[in-house]
């Protein structure tokens, strides 16, 4: 007899490694450059959904340039307004 244990959403999320980047207070275009470099370094894991990139930035214009660039590369991007800054999450396309 086989017992199926349903994998909960939280269990699934926990397996996704989060790569966090804090670019607050850095010179422009540090945010853009660092994110592009990280996307390159972790390409495989980001593409197959093992990892996702979370960026904290106070550069307003990067909420335009980063989603645009990352979407062109085939990623899913979400931008959240945090208190006094922005959080950009980049991961596998669902």
């Amino acid at each position: 007899m086989m017992v199926w244990i349903a994998e909960s959403e939280e269990d699934r999320m926990a397996k996704i490694r989060t790569i966090e980047l804090n670019i607050l207070g850095q010179v422009c275009p540090a945010c853009l450059l660092v994110v592009l470099r990280e996307l390159n370094t972790h390409r495989k894991r980001l593409k197959n959904g093992e990892a996702r990139l979370i960026v904290k930035t106070d550069h307003r214009d990067t909420t335009r340039t980063i989603p645009e660039s990352a979407r062109k590369m085939g990623y899913d991007v979400e931008v959240r307004n945090l208190d006094t800054c922005y959080e950009i999450t980049i991961g596998k396309k669902e």
Binding site: V27, L32, V34, H59, D61, T65, N81, C85, Y86
Partner: protein
């Protein structure tokens, strides 16, 4: 005939600055990003909006000249181009990329609480004071290397102006039409209170025309940085400041309605005080108001050491560049290009080359 009352001039230009500060902050309209991001990721979004800016400003400046609303063409802040225009543009281009902002971008980013731009600001003041020490040598170099006989295309020959306008504006119009139809002017920005770049460009064009009408010349700002520097240096070395030619002489002087209007970098109240100093204060205040309104004002601490050093060096270089060329991107790109001033073309070319060099330094040595 222009308005001469200092109170009207000062409050008018401060208000223009305040509005500029709000829209620049909201649109995060950075002229450094405009070209640097093209070098980095081939992003042309902001450059497209600049084409629209150029078209609107060219037409309004031209109409203003014809109708007598903008009587000073070319304005007193322009001169024939020289090797100093090129050398200054190159240094300026390198400097703004390292400092992460031009003379205007630095102000609105400072207002958001960015310490790296405060470091850049200190560099700009230091660079302006450094220039005061070499002013006579630089100006004699400039005089010896002048290579245009006129200040602007129109001054060279009126017919040439019509030709230039037709040749430059026709492709601009065609491109703007294409971008409008294909929806390329609409971009997605997620920042709070974001303004589309094309709208920011049109607002800026209108504000620059109003400024020109009030001040007698299109927006300029760097002489006032030197003025702030001069006031500070005067507190420590009053005798030295009193002996420097740069702080004694006026950088602009022109007659209007039988009155001599003049101003310079020296520590005194003059036309620069109530047209440029007010612009600095206005832009900073407007951007600060926007940052506070959108709850974004926050000091995130000092940047990494390499970035701090780059910002200070960048500030010094950009101030030296602006002083050597006698103007910045505001003066030469936003004002000089639409006016078809020779200095505008040569400064822009050299600045773009400098920005390319700056981008190489930045990606190889600063942001690792």
């Amino acid at each position: 005939m222009m308005i001469m009352d200092p109170v009207i001039l000062a409050s008018g230009t401060a208000l223009i600055g305040f509005l500029c500060g709000i829209i620049l902050y909201r649109g995060d309209y950075c002229m450094v990003a405009m070209l640097r991001d093209f070098f980095l990721i081939r992003d042309t979004t902001l450059l497209r909006s600049f084409v629209l800016y150029f078209l609107v400003t060219s037409l309004l400046f031209h109409v203003g000249g014809r109708t007598g609303m903008l009587p000073f063409q070319p304005p007193p802040t322009f001169a024939p181009a020289s090797a100093a225009t090129l050398a200054g543009g190159l240094l300026f281009g390198i400097g703004i990329v390292l400092a992460g902002g031009c003379v205007v971008g630095t102000l609105y980013k400072m207002a958001g609480g960015s310490l790296v731009n405060w470091i850049g600001f200190a560099g700009i003041l230091a660079g302006s004071l450094l220039y005061a020490e070499i002013h006579p040598q630089v100006r004699s170099f400039s005089a010896q290397t002048t290579f245009t006989t006129s200040v602007s295309v129109a001054q060279h020959h009126p017919a040439l102006q019509t030709l230039f306008l037709a040749v430059l504006l026709a492709p601009c119009l065609a491109a703007i039409w294409r971008w409008t139809v294909s929806g390329k002017f609409q971009v997605t920005g997620h920042a709070r209170g974001y303004i589309q770049p094309w709208k920011t460009a049109v607002f800026l064009a209108l504000l620059n025309v109003f400024y020109y009408f009030l001040a007698g010349y299109p927006m300029g700002i760097t002489t006032a940085y030197a003025k702030i520097g001069a006031y500070l240096e005067q507190m420590i070395l009053p005798d030295h400041v009193a002996n420097l030619a740069y702080f004694q002489n006026d950088s602009i002087s022109f007659w209007t309605g039988g009155v001599l209007v003049s101003g310079g970098a020296g520590p005194r109240i003059d036309h620069i005080s109530y047209t440029q100093l007010t612009l600095i204060v206005g832009i900073f205040a407007g951007a600060l108001a926007a940052a506070v309104y959108y709850r974004e004002f926050r000091i995130h601490g000092l940047p990494p050491r390499r970035q701090g050093i780059a910002a200070l060096t960048g500030g010094i270089l950009l101030a030296l560049g602006a002083r050597i060329a006698t103007g910045c991107n505001l003066n030469f790109l936003l004002g000089g290009l639409p006016l078809l001033a020779w200095q505008g073309f040569f400064f822009s070319g050299a600045m773009i080359a400098g920005m390319w060099i700056g981008t190489q330094i930045l990606t190889r040595h600063v942001i690792k």
